[in-house]
């Protein structure tokens, strides 16, 4: 088992290092985008998969992270990598302001409340023209890292590195006291209370963790596309993030990665076969995954490998 796991890690690492040399520019873009979305899904999984909460405002956190990173880098001259971290922390604070009132709500009501928060955040970015450029968006030049402008390959490598750290952190969080607390809260808040675990506190923590991941990913995304405007961070994107987590498999770290890969790559592959209706086929695939794999792609994969 451990040998197999080690082999997997080596192959993954080799592929990750070789990818920019094997792929064309568009390929590198797609793989980077997958990594960015995987980062969002990893964080969101804590909220949705572990804590059992729902959010329709994570595209807005992704957007706040993107704008905060861009503003810090472009206007304040903060080094890019540091901007990512600071933007992540800033968005985490914003998210706790959202989480505190949202905690009083459950399921559908929570979904609608977070939907509202997402719209408000998007609107703030839109209206704060002096800072964000409003609806016209922000054009971004590649930031300089270690004295050189960041290339597409450089951004890809940074994304892979941050994804690796994000994976390590998510692994630790899921197995540490936070992950355990979230699992018992999802099962029964009464039981959690009897064990001295405050459900409210850990739901806020789950919100904060997921917002941090989303914001750092947003900061990478801003410089992947080179242009951001408020429209990009809409509810549709929040729903996409949510779908990645669910398709991949709730409560499984690997599932978040698989979900992001599925979400980015499958429509691309479908475009090769059928230029007219990739959306239609993709939609049908989503339905099929949910009907036949209730525990997501990751859960299905686990079942198949265990049987083998």
């Amino acid at each position: 088992m451990n040998v197999r796991l080690g082999a997997c890690a080596v192959v993954t690492l080799a592929l990750a290092v070789a990818a920019p040399y094997l792929l064309n520019a568009y390929g590198v873009y797609l793989v980077t985008l997958t990594g960015i979305f995987a980062l969002v899904a990893l964080g969101l999984n804590f909220l949705v998969g572990y804590a059992g909460q729902i959010s329709l405002c994570h595209a807005a956190f992704f957007g706040v992270g993107a704008y905060a990173t861009a503003l810090l880098t472009e206007k304040a001259g903060v080094p890019y990598v540091l901007s990512l971290l600071v933007a992540g922390l800033f968005t985490t604070i914003v998210s706790t302001l959202v989480a505190v009132p949202a905690l009083r709500l459950r399921s559908l009501y929570l979904a609608i409340a977070t939907l509202g928060f997402g719209v408000v955040l998007q609107k703030i970015i839109f209206e704060w023209r002096s800072l964000t450029g409003g609806g016209g968006g922000m054009q971004l030049a590649p930031p300089s890292v270690a004295g050189h402008p960041l290339t597409a390959t450089g951004l890809y490598e940074l994304t892979v590195a941050l994804l690796a750290i994000g994976l390590y952190g998510a692994h630790n969080l899921s197995r540490g006291r936070t992950g355990r607390a979230l699992r018992i809260i999802k099962e029964s808040e009464t039981a959690a209370g009897a064990l001295g675990i405050s459900a409210a506190r850990y739901k806020i923590a789950a919100f904060a963790i997921s917002a941090f991941y989303a914001a750092v990913a947003g900061g990478l995304f801003a410089y992947l596309v080179g242009y951001i405007n408020p429209e990009s961070f809409n509810v549709g994107l929040s729903i996409s993030f949510l779908s990645m987590v669910v398709i991949g498999g709730l409560g499984a770290i690997g599932g978040s990665i698989v979900g992001a890969i599925f979400y980015v790559l499958v429509p691309e592959l479908l475009r090769g076969f059928n230029n007219d209706a990739p959306g239609l086929v993709f939609g049908a695939l989503l339905v099929a995954v949910m009907v036949f794999m209730p525990r997501g792609l990751w859960g299905m994969g686990l079942r198949l490998t265990r049987r083998a």
């Binding site: 540490g176 006291r177 355990r180 999802k186 039981a191 209370g193 009897a194 904060a208």
Partner: protein
Amino acid sequence: MARLTIEDVSVKFGGVHALRSVSFAVETGAIVGLIGPNGAGKSTLLNCISGITRPTTGRTLLDGAVLSALPPARVARKGIGRVFQHPELAPDLTARENLLIACHNTMTYGLVGEFLMLPGARRQENAAENKVSSLLMRLGLSAIEGRRVRDLPYGHRKLIDLGRALLMEIRFLLLDEPIAGLNDEEIAKLGDLILALRREVRLGVIIVEHNMAFVSRLCDRLIALDLGEAIAEGAPAEVLGHPKVQAAYLGEAPNA
């Protein structure tokens, strides 16, 4: 010695009196049984102590400090453990992982320490793992520690639930029908365990139970409730023989 006091507690749900000015106190080292027919208010009383239900009037205190204004998690952290009638465990986690959940408040590391699994956090995790290992051994569950809880028999799940309360370094333990669904051997083992805990750590225990043989064996004192009122209190034989208690159980005779 610590003292848990229930002071003139009443609970009204709508127009119904679930509890009417109930008062008593339990010291560490004492085992007190709460008996009474269904609907007498036994579980409501436990819920008041653990902070799940707010008393309509009256209060609960631990060593003179008011508990009844605190949320359940804070009450638990004051050293009051609660075991529910039906074990509420995380079904997809193993027996060991479920027990680790209860070590939550013996650990102090924060989110950043956890994210990076810094040496301090790892040390605390290892200490908790060791505590869980010795508890598993004590409960006789070492062999099944790696099994997912959803695959375990009911008796094991109840033991794990009790084990969680014991890991919290509590001074008082509230047990709601601890032996319902257990077989004779498991019942005897559980009784031994509770008596041992009283001896070793001077745990104070309040047990809600219908099995009169079990409460007579364990409890120093019984309190009989009927329709939310305490109708008798004293030594087990005395309370069980009390005419009001006999009357309350008419048609629902206490099984000896």
